[in-house]
Symmetry: C2
Subunit: 239 residues, 2 copies
DNA sequence: TTCTACGGACGAACGGTGTTCGCGTCAAGC
DNA sequence: GCTTGACGCGAACACCGTTCGTCCGTAGAA
């Protein structure tokens, strides 16, 4: 089956659920699932930057050309990865009095998935919202926001904002982490070093930055994340 | 002067302001400013994906190796571009009764700059906050948030959230725009087509998505942007 | 004035990337 | 048993970021 048709099918409502035909040549023939699994493994191990058609092919003991029988191009593979990632998200049944916590929970799930596959959130920003699995998550979030009593327009925009922020937060974190590992030792910026650099700025030009360097670099774990998500969700409630 | 030292100087408080020495070989020798100008021109014309050391060099009528006398590597060039972009932002004097609108205005300036250079916001997510010009914008935003009466911790986190959201919003928009130009005609997703696709999803599995497809794809201009920015800023005020 | 040393410019090359072309080869259908 | 067609994949193309070694014009020393 042509990978172009395969991609189109993923964006179509119908899902006939036919079984793909038997193997052809290989002992264990390549399937799309295999490609996706291998790719996800690569991303989890070495980050999204290390995701290369050649590396995926090599991990499957073949050449890069073989992948193009299953995948339109790298962007298509990215989309498949995002789809798989979204499929892992558990969506709760909206409860009228718990919708805030439920929204927070789904966002945290998304965050953890993105951080499990560093840098993949970059591909999420490019993902078309009509992919089945992506649409599934969007639907779940929209249901929660609507359960909170927001107008459809507010709910739609808030869901968009949440998804966008989660992806950006994870992307920024992954980039920072990669830099810490990969860059010249002189430029690694752990939090303490960053705080020191900020304090070292001329106080005349940067009074607030120098004074509040601790707050700017502060926050254990995902405090910063929770802060923003809560800000968005709370704002959605009372308006 | 070594480009590594040049980069280090950009992150240092001191700014001696000496004059760079006279030309060497070329009729009009290459300067960092020229490189940055050329690169920005490329990004403005063809997007960040088209920003290539080779293309920058070609636009300057030279080979790629010549650039490395002025720039550490491509990441360094990215940082310089972000710095230049931030330098264009006008920061208002915080007024106690107008800080919300002032915050909105600075965010809109950032947004317009990012959209003027499509895709460059991707580099912004990787930019170190100790770069002088980046720190300048951060300082200005922090001053505005503090003028609103927020606690230092809330102000710091809110500024971070704003900056992150603006970059993500612009990045997503740039990606979508590039896809519309660049992709197979069958996959271009103008808003009307997107709405049609969402409505075509099976209503049983996607009740809210299909019903509110108009809201999900709606919003003229930067309504979606304004919505989120306002949500964040308002939440910052009363807590 | 002559000589030396320095540092920017840059041609060529290396190892990597995504993607395509075309050939071989096997399994299924007649 | 033969034909057919789809899949696997080696080889190649055009492009990327980066480095090495060389060249050479100028600045300062003698």
């Amino acid at each position: 089956m042509n990978p172009r048709d395969r991609r189109a099918a993923r964006h179509q409502p119908s899902e006939p659920g036919g079984t793909d035909p038997a193997p052809r040549r290989r002992a264990l023939p390549i399937t799309v699932e295999q490609v996706v699994d291998t790719a996800l493994g690569l991303v989890a191990a070495d980050g999204y930057e290390a995701l290369t058609m050649r590396r995926v092919a090599a991990a499957l003991d073949t050449g890069p050309a073989s992948l193009y029988a299953h995948v339109v191009n790298k962007a298509d593979l990215d989309e498949l990865l995002i789809g798989r990632l979204c499929a892992e998200i558990a969506l709760p049944e909206p409860a009228p009095d718990a919708w805030r916590d439920q929204l927070r929970d789904v966002c945290a799930q998304l965050r953890d998935q993105y951080l499990k596959y560093p840098g993949l959130s970059r591909a999420a920003l490019a993902a078309a919202p009509t992919d089945r699995q992506v649409a599934r998550v969007g639907e779940g979030l929209l249901a929660l926001a609507l359960a909170g009593g927001a107008s459809p327009q507010d709910a739609a925009w808030a869901v968009d904002a949440l998804v966008l922020y989660v992806a950006a937060y994870c992307l920024e974190r992954s980039i920072a982490q990669r830099k810490a590992v990969h860059e010249d030792a002189a430029w690694v910026l752990d939090r303490e070093e960053l705080r020191r650099r900020l304090t070292a700025l001329p106080a005349a030009d940067f009074p607030h930055t120098t004074r509040h360097a601790a707050e700017l670099t502060g926050g254990a774990g995902h405090d910063r994340f929770d802060f923003t998500i809560t800000l968005l969700i709370n704002g959605l409630g009372h308006r």
